[in-house]
Subunit: 199 residues, 2 copies
């Protein structure tokens, strides 16, 4: 045994996003000094989660069961389907909006250079779903990045092939933002796509 258990613990914390050597050390000491119970709970929950959480076989979101609670729920509107890049995006939409339709989680975006193509995003599964005929509108909520936009165009084509209306989130100036601090691309887009004010 070359390194002590404490050193191993500090090293292990570094798998977490945004955690460097200093934060990892702080986490290890904090847990040992003040949160042994919470640390034990975290260890057990983490181990169970890593082993038992898989993907919903319908929407590809994280789920303990083969079908997630949203897909299994009978109370959601099956005519609306919203495609998002990640489970975090799905959660953000679910929390911010009153959306009552269903989701499809791509678990990524088209990125040929990284070897991520339609197959990796489960687009064959999405196509089969659109072919079922129940979905009327595919709300494409991929991120407004180059790769996200490319993915959005691909999804829009796929939707049209199956007679489904594709829609995309509006771009523009964020609510509560100041024009001075909005990036040029967004400002230019918002200016160009200005709409008449209602009376």
């Amino acid at each position: 045994m070359s390194s002590s258990l404490l050193e191993q613990l500090i090293e292990a914390f570094r798998v977490l996003p945004g955690v460097g050597p200093k934060s990892a050390q702080r986490m290890a000491y904090h847990v040992l000094e003040r949160e042994r119970e919470g640390g034990k709970r975290l260890a057990q929950t983490l181990e169970a989660a890593v082993e038992r959480i898989g993907h919903c076989d319908r929407c590809r979101d994280f789920s303990e069961n083969t079908r997630c609670t949203t897909c299994a729920s009978g109370s959601r509107d099956a005519h609306l389907l919203c495609a998002v890049e990640s489970p975090a995006d799905r959660l953000a939409i679910e929390q911010a909006t009153g959306y009552r339709g269903l989701y499809f989680v791509l678990q990524g975006r088209l990125s040929p250079l990284d070897g991520i193509g339609p197959r990796e995003l489960g687009l064959d599964q999405l196509a089969a779903r659109l072919a079922e005929g129940e979905v009327n509108e595919l709300i494409i909520a991929t991120n407004p990045t180059v790769e996200g936009e490319a993915t959005a165009h691909y999804l829009a084509q796929l939707a049209r092939q199956h007679g489904v209306k594709p829609s995309r989130l509006t771009h523009g100036v964020p609510l509560g933002g100041e024009l001075e601090y909005v990036d040029r691309g967004t400002l230019s887009h918002a200016f160009g796509s200005r709409s008449e004010m209602p009376q």
Copy 2:
């Protein structure tokens, strides 16, 4: 079961210092999406650490064994003893300086309002150690806060009672800092305790 395993995992991450709801969510998704192996390792190391890491019976630092490697080492200078508030402070000194003496980790600072007195800091154990006669100098490296200073005065008295010389880290302007940004207390102290420049 009211909340899903994913929700439980997000909640469990919040025992870590500086981790709010948003970071906890990001950590959970990151581990599930990209770091299942690392997550499992973290879970197992954390559980082992919480169960097996105790305190060294000589210096009170964290240790898997009853005596830590520093105290057990025969190559350290037993005439020098450095008192610090926490294991993190001990590590900082160990990494920054070439100190070859031994340590005593208080695991806190005197804080009567929080019920932390000499007993909680193991000062009876420290007194017994000073009484052994091997220690010549007690380097008091508690933090330069109100409570840290109070603790330092208490420790200095204790040292003198046992014929041991107490010393304290120098206060002053940090190296590489700009005077403009140094806090008033530090600047005033550094100005008042200025020393003649060597030729």
